[in-house]
């Protein structure tokens, strides 16, 4: 069958499935809308958490970043999995014991302050909206390829679908749908990886493929990749760092604590029946996440190898070793039409030269071949996973499957995030603070309106995303890391932190992170408004804006503890509350006030 027909078929069938489940499990009460009641098994909840968690950034973007950053991209692999250890050990069981619906609700009660609750809502919305922008970028890429339109049109269509889909459902619908989405996305991710690993190394298990020799048995696959990229002036794959070691350290730490501070993930742990299950859910979620995350290094490295070999078909320097533009493969043409892949024949020889023209030594050598600069002027990292099966000449149904998987990943996360935004506005701000007498119907309606507003805003920023999908998402993690995580952790582990300290800490943390991001990436990410420029010499100790959240978090801890020492101590009944959440006994169902 034709690729386009197959893609419509796969995407159509999976969408019908999700929407069917969403209608079948439609939320009718506020408690179902927010937390799906309490009857969800840890394994099922773990799977839904994994789908919720693994977004367009993990599915579409991450392997592309690995492909081009090699070892440097390890920050994403470690950062986005290691956070679950923090979540399981430091937060999940205690928040479950506390037994409320939202993160700001916990912060408001623990710090006995409406101000703290409002500050938490603001931090949460900033982090979540930034995160949704990253998803929108991924959705735009997937739809533009699938419908063969330009990126902007793909983005508008994606916004419409996210709107219909998440506004309808609520948490109960989302949980069951996300289980289905996990199955689709993990199948779509691993099938091409197995095929490609088999093609290149002869080993069907991608995790072992990257350690193996090439199918011809002579050289190790990674050694071969190192050779291929360094021959064209690129950095050696297995040793290239991202910025510096310090930047990588900060980046990893930011993603880890950000993971443990993101409201749409934490909210999951309110939905399990028992404290015991909250611990297990984190473990199961990581099992399902690890399947994708340990496969990603294989997808990235093998995609890079295939890409290089497609363009540079023989020894570097030989005229006929560069593919003729007219003979470029179909996938190349398809991606050119999205505008995410661009070729420019700089030396007018009708052939494609793809090399690192920023490497001075190699650029000189390239000139002697008659090359006049890198002709692949744009290779958007976010296209790699979707293009990968096409580059490897896999059957059409695999390509269609990957598109369906990418959409599943982006939609499931966007829906979860929008729900977190909706609940913080309708539940925390409206019901909790401004209009306590609001009816359930009105609260649900307010939540749905908040979702629509968030989609529109994220779509607007998605037209000019500050970074690749994964980079944009990393900024969201920085915001969550610097504001929410420290407040939650101190709320449980330090009885002495009081309301003034917590509020001052959160404001300090998120302000430092946001100012740093804005000064390098533009105010509200608007291009051209960055007053320091997004380049490494201007970075504080070489720490990139995406990695800065951990510095904000440190400031948050320091300010909160310092201010608490100087202001009125925590009242007795709050100290008892903290002691109470530290033990599992007596945990009831998540309750509404």
């Amino acid at each position: 069958m034709e690729l386009t027909t197959l893609t419509y078929l796969f995407v159509g069938t999976t969408f019908a499935l999700y929407i069917g489940i969403a209608i079948w499990a439609r939320a009718s009460t506020t408690s179902e809308f927010y937390v799906a009641g309490k009857g969800i098994h840890p394994v099922a909840n773990g799977m839904a958490t994994a789908a919720d968690w693994m977004s367009a950034a993990s599915f579409i973007s991450m392997a592309g970043l690995i492909a081009f950053n090699g070892y440097g991209a390890s920050v994403f692999l470690m950062g986005w999995t290691g956070g679950y250890v923090l979540l399981a050990l430091l937060l999940a069981p205690y928040l479950r014991k506390f037994g409320k619906f939202t993160v700001p609700e916990f912060i408001g009660e623990r710090y006995y302050s409406r101000t703290a609750r409002i500050v938490a809502v603001i931090c949460l919305i900033l982090a979540s909206i930034t995160y949704v922008i990253g998803q929108m970028k991924g959705i735009g890429v997937a739809f533009s390829r699938f419908l063969e339109t330009d990126y902007d049109t793909g983005l508008y269509i994606g916004m419409g679908i996210v709107f219909i889909y998440s506004v309808l459902g609520g948490m109960k619908g989302i949980t069951y749908t996300q289980i289905a989405q996990y199955c689709v996305l993990i199948f779509a991710y691993t099938v091409p990886a197995v095929f490609i690993s088999l093609n290149i190394t002869g080993n069907p298990i991608p995790q072992l493929g990257i350690l193996s020799t090439m199918a011809d048995g002579n050289t190790y696959m990674m050694d071969k990749l190192n050779l291929v990229v360094s021959e064209l002036g690129f950095n050696e794959y297995t040793t290239q760092v991202m910025g510096s070691k310090l930047n990588m350290f900060a980046y990893t730490l930011t993603l880890m604590i950000g993971t443990a501070g993101l409201p749409h993930v934490i909210i999951r742990f309110f939905t399990v029946p028992k404290v015991k299950d909250a611990r297990a859910t984190a473990g199961w979620a990581l099992v399902f996440i690890a399947i994708l995350y340990t496969t990603a290094p294989a997808v990235g490295s093998m995609a890079r190898l295939n890409l290089m070999n497609t363009i540079q078909t023989g020894p570097v320097g030989e005229v006929t070793a560069n593919i003729e533009y007219e003979k470029r493969p179909q996938w190349f043409k398809n991606w050119e039409s999205t505008g995410l892949l661009k070729f420019e024949d700089k030396n007018g020889d009708g052939r494609i030269q793809y090399y690192n023209d920023k490497n001075k030594d190699f650029a000189a050598k390239a000139e002697s071949f008659g090359w006049k600069g890198n002709e692949m002027v744009k290779v958007d990292r976010d296209i790699m996973v979707l293009a990968n099966p096409e580059i490897a000449n896999l059957p059409n149904w695999v390509i269609a499957l990957v598109v369906a998987g990418g959409l599943a990943a982006a939609l499931s996360t966007a829906a979860g995030l929008l729900l977190a935004i909706a609940s913080s506005i309708s539940h925390d701000l409206l019901k909790g603070i401004f209009r306590p007498d609001i009816s359930e119907r009105e609260e649900l309606m307010a939540g749905r309106i908040a979702m629509a507003g968030a989609i529109a805003m994220a779509g607007y920023f998605g037209l000019h995303p500050p970074d690749f999908a994964a980079g944009t998402v990393a900024i969201a993690f920085g915001l969550a890391a610097s504001s929410i995580f420290p407040a939650l952790m101190m709320g449980i582990f330090n009885k002495k932190v009081n309301r003034t300290g917590a509020v001052a800490g959160m404001i300090t943390g998120i302000s430092i992170t946001m100012l740093y991001v804005f000064q390098h990436k533009g105010i509200m990410f608007i291009p051209g408004t960055s007053f320091l420029g997004d380049m490494s010499p201007n970075w504080f100790f070489g720490i990139s804006p995406n990695a800065f959240g951990c510095v904000g978090a440190l400031a948050n801890f320091a300010v909160a503890i310092g201010v608490s020492k100087m202001t009125a101590p925590v009242p007795d009944h709050i100290q008892h509350l903290v002691e109470d959440i530290r033990v599992p006994a007596g945990a009831g169902a998540a309750s509404d006030h």
């Binding site: 070892y71 050990l89 990257i210 350290f249």
Partner: protein, 83 residues
């Protein structure tokens, strides 16, 4: 047998597990990566392997060990939920 002993034991367990968490990711995967890369696992260095594979497997083990030990601790101090 009181709640503060329970809490202390909990903190000790968390501290040990987080030390391992730090070692496999930040220490082996970033700080000592070049040193460890001298040792080869198939076609890649050990440091690279920890950064892209090994740390993730270790994280999994850490969470399940924590879950098991904490559930046992809940029973030892009789603060579990099933009473």
């Amino acid at each position: 047998m009181n709640r503060s002993d329970y809490w202390k034991e909990n903190l000790r367990l968390v501290a040990i597990l987080l030390a391992i968490w730090f070692a496999v990711s930040f220490l082996f995967g970033i700080i000592l990566v070049d040193t460890l890369n001298v040792i080869r696992v198939g076609g890649v260095g050990l440091g690279f392997w920890f950064a892209q594979q090994g740390s993730i497997y270790t994280f999994l083990v850490l969470i399940f060990v924590y879950t098991k030990k904490m559930n046992a601790l809940d029973r030892k101090y009789d603060v579990h939920e099933d009473k």
